[in-house]
Symmetry: D2
Subunit: 417 residues, 4 copies
């Protein structure tokens, strides 16, 4: 999960991303209200103690209720049981889901399944959709995306990919080690990225494939992703040609299909958690008195609150702009998704951190869930490409775009004689 980065901007991304292929079966406005109500009335009362994971039976019940309430899988095609929203309509609904740390799991729109479903919808064959996408959307199986590798393999630099897939009689043989594979433990299948003769190829590998073994789990401070983050080893792992996802040798390009939206849905979900944190702090600021005034009327508290509102609204705005771009112009969407990822991951962290500060000693205790929320979002500045890697890519793109502009119209700045 950690650091695959979007460096292949020059490739043509001609995946079918026509928003019309979504049939919007529910008015987003109505779905949004219903989702908010479901989170408030059903999910939040079922939340586990701060810092602990939700019980699997409770989660299964919540998912069943979500299906009944018509709020399950907002992002997935209606024909597979989802709510059929196009990307540009996801943000408010995903934020509503993320208002509870277990909301995205309860609504079937948690990473990595949500991103895997999106990619399957875009590039899987009809048979693959039937075999993998349908049960995934139904919540019958979980999935994992196996790209990141131990150093010095694919990490922040996906081009360093070391896992190989060799064409063998009737299929492929996969060998290599993966690491930090989110959701691995308990997953029904893996989408595996492997180096092939020309570039990279993605494969669908069932969890019970004898050539696939799970290694140790890496214990991280976040808890919301079921199945943890594990090592996964491929040793003479045999799959058929029908296991190739999309076309062979297109893996790097497909990775971008997944990564842009996946980064953005992280932003959406965790922005919901930031809103929750600010609400907790606002409630505290309303009820507490200090030095003879309500906390909410003390200027230094107001400064913290205002900065959090600004962080939330600018995050919301850049998410909206990026989601629209992802539908309209995938390359511009990919560019903006890097920017949104960096801004949102840092802004969301600040919002929760300030909320802790507003709540004083309780903010760093398990009497409030804020400290566990901070643990949940801290890794996002590293996962999905470390923010420093994104900054590097953002800067390079800005330089190359400017060079192209100048080549087109001639320099308009002459900084020096």
């Amino acid at each position: 999960m950690s650091v695959p980065e979007n460096q292949n901007q020059n490739q043509n991304q001609n995946m079918n991303q026509n928003p019309n292929e979504h049939t919007t079966v529910t008015a987003p406005g109505d779905l949004l209200e219903r989702t908010r109500a479901f989170i408030r009335d059903v999910v939040i009362p079922a939340e586990p103690e701060p810092g602990t994971s939700v019980d699997s039976a409770v989660l299964a019940r919540l998912q069943a209720e979500a299906r009944d309430a018509g709020v399950y899988a907002p992002h997935a095609p209606a024909e597979y049981g989802g709510q059929g929203l196009s990307i540009a309509a996801w943000s408010p609904v995903f934020q509503a889901a993320g208002y509870s740390p277990i909301g995205p799991s309860a609504l079937g729109c948690m990473a990595p399944d949500e991103g895997n479903a999106h990619m399957l919808e875009k590039i899987a064959s009809p048979a693959q959709k039937k075999a993998y996408l349908a049960p995934l959307v139904r919540g019958d199986v979980r999935s994992a995306f196996a790209m990141t590798e131990p150093h010095p393999g694919a990490g922040s630099d996906p081009e360093a990919l070391l896992t190989t897939a060799t064409a063998v009689d009737g299929g492929w043989r996969i060998d290599g080690d993966k690491r930090f594979i989110s959701g691995a433990r308990g997953a029904g299948f893996f989408i595996v990225m492997a180096r092939t003769e020309h570039g990279a190829t993605m494969f669908l590998v069932d969890a019970d494939n004898p050539g696939l073994t799970l290694g140790r789990d890496i214990h991280t401070i976040d808890r919301a992703i079921a199945g943890g983050h594990s090592y996964v080893h491929f040793d003479d792992c045999r799959v058929g040609d029908d296991a190739v996802l999309g076309a062979p040798h297109e893996g790097f390009r497909y990775a971008q299909v997944r990564l842009g939206p996946a980064r953005l849905t992280h932003c959406m979900r965790w922005l919901g958690l930031a809103r929750r944190s600010l609400d907790i702090a606002l409630d505290r600021a309303e009820s507490r008195e200090l030095f003879g005034a309500r906390l909410r009327d003390l200027g230094l508290a107001q400064g913290l609150i205002a900065d959090s509102v600004i962080d939330i609204e600018t995050s919301d705005a850049i998410i909206t702009a990026t989601a629209e771009a992802l539908e309209r112009d995938p390359r511009e969407g990919a560019r903006l998704s890097s920017i949104a990822k960096v801004h949102c991951s840092e802004a969301i962290f600040r919002v929760i951190d300030r909320s802790m500060q507003l709540c004083g000693g309780d903010g760093v205790s398990s009497d409030l869930p804020l400290a566990s929320y901070l643990d949940e979002v801290r890794p996002f500045r590293i996962y999905d490409g470390a923010n420093e890697t994104h900054r590097w890519a953002i800067s390079r793109r800005a330089s190359s775009t400017r060079r192209r502009e100048l080549a087109d119209v001639g320099a308009i700045e002459r900084p020096e004689a």
Copy 2:
């Protein structure tokens, strides 16, 4: 100009803001391209030396050419000679104008005239529009907005308004002192805010009214607003009933009509200047070598560039979100305009400041225009309501909104036993 603040959120803002009353005569996309070309090919070559003001004859020529090129007054109604864009379409065009520090003046969309025109369009009578709006849009006169007063009058707190207007036979008598009135010197008329029996009222006062005198100019570090920032004194200043702008006693409410969009167009224009600054820095980073590498390939320079791109894109996104809200829901638009003002004014300042840093010694010299750009945007963190005042208002709104939510649905957080 400095600090009138939007505190009257509870008043109903039922001004006609139906975007359909604009007849969009030009496809925005086409206007955008033509505006960019005009700035690049006509305006930038005519820019004055850094730190100096544009010659008035040059400006008049540019304005005439802009009218001929069909790019003049993008915001103004087509019937008065503008390009008829609705607010939601302003941003890219205003940014293109602001790419040159003299662009907004050349295109007739500079403060305070642009904001005054917008307000006149919303609330002036047909006769007033003919007498004041038409020549304003044509560029035949300039205008000023007289609200801010010397301490302890209206400043960050508009409710402290001390200038009075008393009903007298056949009209009104205005008395009081104004301060920091942008564009006053050379203005053809003033929109004056005065306390009346019930609240405040706005008046249209001609510059040659014998009861109006200009006081000294306040010299500030910005240069782009023609007419500087002056004291204006009203002493037994008589005007007729037809000088009342809109309805009497609605002044505070009208001020919001002006302030929300006016704040936002400042954001748009100066965001254009931030883009220019980054381009200057990118050109420098492209051409310079340091420690054996191109400056653009040094990580610390890349960090500065990336942070500036992030600042620019988040500013762009919050402007877009705010402009859409201003058309859809004026109260939400006013809320977001505070947030956009704070974020953009700080982000734009940072972008220019980083660009100076990237350009080294030249960045703080008049060999490059960056230092003059910084002077141009620094006051924006104070004008239109100091950012600290906006933060205070943003926090108060967040608290009151949360209280209303809890009253509606009941508390969902119980931070403490």
Copy 3:
């Protein structure tokens, strides 16, 4: 523990703080080297897994070895078994101790015992020193400082103290509730702050006093303070006159004696942990390659490293300046200790946070201890007075100091005509 704040600047702090009363038995330079060696060779190999507490038997062994090595209790008077350093010499030694999260406990200079020992040394009677200070320095007992109360009692505002002590025949009766009492569970005695007829008084209360009961523990994200943070209840708790610490009714003044240095020793210890974190990140940056370069040679990593070095050195410098002031001029020392507390607590947090970022996915996992270090220091921005409360006090002091200066010499600024 949380938020007692230094507001009583106007009181004369005439406690004996003559540094000569310390007999410096070891040359600080030598002690420093021996402390560093002890931490490196003895303590670090005994560290528990990240996020867990040290085993008590291990800790006892480390303390015994520290005594044998002549590095135990660097701050305590030599006559009681400490190393007899004066405050101005503490910083490098406490930083060396804090380089391991269990170092301060192993060396007997952890909060709250260290601050309690310091206060006992300053204000306890000879009999009290013998009964309480001596075993405390020897490590035979632990102690707690009971000042903070449940809302709306003493928290950020110590003047809100609600616990009372009433003079009764032959002694005092204490009633009230305390909260967030660090180290309470397992402590041998408590220093209790209670409201008395004239101000506040401090009492020494044995843990087995039948009027004292421990309530529930508050679970916080930090782990290093043995005994956790508990509620403590006083119900008809009887103590003799000899339980009064120092003079009656001087409690608020004494609290400052404790709080200034206690804040500063937190800065020292955790600055050591920040140095450890940076070292961990430097080692990672040395060993990892990315995009064909060593991580330490990538500019964006270098920016993170440099900012951390700056944070560490400015923290070190303000600690040094504050420690010198605490010896020379307690009021100036108290003023600077607020400033040092805010700067260091934020700088230390940033250093650890950046180190996590430099270590990528491992930085947020338990494969490295960084995430647990962040949990350890995060509360410091709240404990010992929330940073916002300190900012408020810092600002008020700056304003009042400036007023006094102007009263002395007359205004030298005339900002306005």
Copy 4:
């Protein structure tokens, strides 16, 4: 002046920096009080309008009065007419001087003369001291330091030095171009850095040398350095062997002698200006009311004030630590001077910027001097080595120091199995 950077840490800096060679003729404490009084009573009343330079006749009068008052040239040896302070005692006196933007010039301790005097004292021959240092300290001549060159010559990277000095019969011939030479216009002599056969050599060149011509001035936003920043051209410029400053080929090493302290005295002087700015803001906060409260009692204003106090005190502390190191251990002093330069230049800028914000519209006008102060200090983030270059050097030093530590004691961290 811009960006020469300290990269030659590995050279032995065995210059005589024994503080005992200074004869401290005045008790620093007394000198400090007298300097403060002189600035307050004599210099501030003579300050020019904001944004303008002081009249040369006024300056000459102030210098004469400063000599009479025994406060002139606090840094210079007593035998040459200075006050004989050692570096570790400079900071409070230089801050007192810098409290007025013309104070350092009035007291004869302004850049570049002060740094040149310091270097002459360290490495000039007795004859050179008599001919150059004596009149410089007396204020009879001004001087310049000619190191920086046009791109791609010596700038941020001094090793890129292009100006050459060739040994010719009886002396040297200097050829090359310099740029951004502060104080050049009107200087009596130049210290010129030129590439020689083995490294670089420094030369003393009289301003009337026919081989030296001044080029155009670079107009920068700062005003306090008399003589501006100019191009200087050397064309067949002949000097004798006695023009060599110190030993030949030691130029890079000597540059460090100058740069470390010179950076630090900039920090000292401008920290004084930051204190002035905060005082101006405090006076405003005292006198203004807003929303029914004094500005100084509004929390958001208090936050700005507190952050400025923290910036000032941490700057003061790191300056003190660095000055002590420069006397005790020049290499450690050079390391800290980079850190101090980055921290102080950014902190000072923030303090003035916040003060502007606290003063509202007046803060960006010439009614207050704050905007001119900001112009004065902004270049410091670029001069004396751009902060990004220093960050790069700080990071590299941290990495190499850590490598050496590990080589000495063996790795104590094992971040990964």
